[in-house]
Amino acid sequence: MLRDITLGQYYQTESKLHELDPRTKLVGTFVYLISLFVFTNAYVYIFAASFLLLCVLISHIPPTYMIKGMKPIIFLLVFTMVLNMLVTPGEVILTLWKLTITKEGVKQALYMGARLTLLVMGSNMMTLTTTPTRLTNGLERLMAPLKLIKVPVHEIAMMMSIALRFIPILMDETDRIMKAQLARGADFESGNLIKKAKSLVPVLVPLFISAFRRANDLAMAMEARCYHGGKGRTQMKPLKYRPRDFVAYLILILYLAGIILIGRYL
């Protein structure tokens, strides 16, 4: 029922990319995303796409799985592309009734499409190769300097990792409650919007109760282990840069140089 969401899910396998330090991957993804916005040039996108393809190959994630991750944004993608095609002024190449398609519009639409696709695939690449725990861990370390200006970095990271951890649990729970109510004759499909919304009450009430119960249990368990926030807290597996991370940063710098060169001179 609700299991078809791949956005932000970890894909378990062994590869060089999986082994990288989460900080490297976070910085890498960040740089990659920015690089997509600096230049609007077909060669830049081809270069960025081949870099992503290389990452996919290294990561041992099946390409079909990557494409499946695009599903949630397919509507947005088509919508943006069509809109761009229709509203960009310029040299008219086709007129259908009141709609005109321009040469510039087609170009713009292709750029937008490429940009969005690479954007989502690029960030999926990171979440597919990094467990949520490592990801928030990396984020916490990267944001550590903000502690100086009293930003509760540790608390934010902890809240994020708890939220991420609970998404699959609550999804399973929803599935189970829906099935239990179906077995009691509940009907989630027929009727108008108001009836459908009403039919969700028997799902939402138990779901909220269970979420509160779980939150309570978790708080109690953390308290029992003397959790008191980030101060003086050590880690079992502290993040440490290894030689492969420096290699990755080097590749990233080369990629950035490539993008700038291509963007400037082609």
Partner: protein, 288 residues
């Protein structure tokens, strides 16, 4: 035993089912499983965690559709066009694990009325059958208008079971109904289930991973392992395979082990004993 003229209520015919068909962790939960429930019969469905018993249970009232094979209820294919699967869900009542987690209404009485109303009974009928169901599960009168959330764990579970009973099912399937209850609550609940079978003529399928729970009550025991049905027979015949059961991570009733030990020590006792009373008689028989 339900007698010699057993009528078949439900047939699962060679069903297979796979989770997460295109994803990274696909696995076969059911592989060519065939299974029958007779009228008025008490079946124990036993298997280790992940053996596919809960999946099978959800196939039986069309919450999950098998990839291969089909299910017949009263001789009709439930996936035939035009078959009323909602009515099937009424006839095959399903009580999930921890059913108290599905409660949502403001009073116990409204909670139990939820099912009958959904299945199209009018107000009066719903209330009458809700009343009867709450009585059947042995809840005291004063809790009718309490919030279900104020009750104890065992009582909540009774409310949840009553809410399924209120729709008057013909087969009642229960997933680990005694999980998480204390020994007293456990015993009371099992007694209640047995009385349901006797007074209502209900067929009951009890899903469990514990042999002790079902050994005494079941007419027939079905053992599942890794998506297959391994044994489907009378309890004593199933327990005779206690070594194989152990390999699957299941245990035979404790008394069987006592008798096995006695036999190994040279006493000529029967080893197909399942409960403590029988064991007592058998031991007394050989010492006197």
């Amino acid at each position: 035993m339900a007698g010699d003229k057993k009528k078949i209520k439900l047939i699962a015919d060679h069903i297979s089912f796979e989770y997460d068909k295109s994803g990274a962790n696909r696995h076969k939960a059911l592989d060519d499983v065939s299974f029958v429930v007779n009228e008025g019969e008490f079946v124990g469905l036993i298997g280790h965690t992940g053996s596919g018993k809960s999946t099978l249970m959800q196939q039986l009232n069309a919450l999950l559709k098998p990839d291969k094979g089909t299910i017949y209820y009263d001789g009709l294919d439930i996936y035939e066009k035009g078959y009323d699967r909602k009515e099937l869900r009424r006839r095959v009542g399903l009580v999930f694990q921890y059913p108290e987690h599905q409660l949502f209404e403001d009073t116990v009485f409204n909670e139990v009325c939820f099912g009958p109303k959904n299945f199209g009974m009018d107000k009066k009928q719903s209330e009458l059958s809700a009343y009867a169901a709450i009585k059947k599960v042995g809840l005291p009168d004063e809790c009718f208008y309490h919030s279900p959330f104020d009750l104890s764990g065992g009582q909540k579970r009774r409310v949840a079971i009553a809410s399924v009973l209120a729709v008057k099912p013909e087969i009642l399937i229960m997933d680990e109904p005694t999980a998480g209850l204390d020994p007293k609550g456990r015993e009371e609940l099992m007694e209640m289930i047995l009385s349901l079978k006797e007074s209502e003529g209900l067929s009951i399928v009890l899903v469990s991973h514990s042999m002790e729970d079902v050994a005494k009550l079941a007419d027939r025991i079905v053992v599942m392992d890794k998506g297959h049905i391994v044994y489907d027979d009378e309890p004593k015949k199933v327990f005779a395979h206690y070594k194989e059961l152990e390999e699957m991570g299941l245990a035979a009733p404790e008394m069987m082990y006592v008798m096995q030990e006695l036999k190994a020590a040279g006493f000529n006792v029967r080893t197909d004993v399942t409960d403590i009373e029988e064991a007592k008689e058998e031991i007394l028989r050989i010492v006197t």
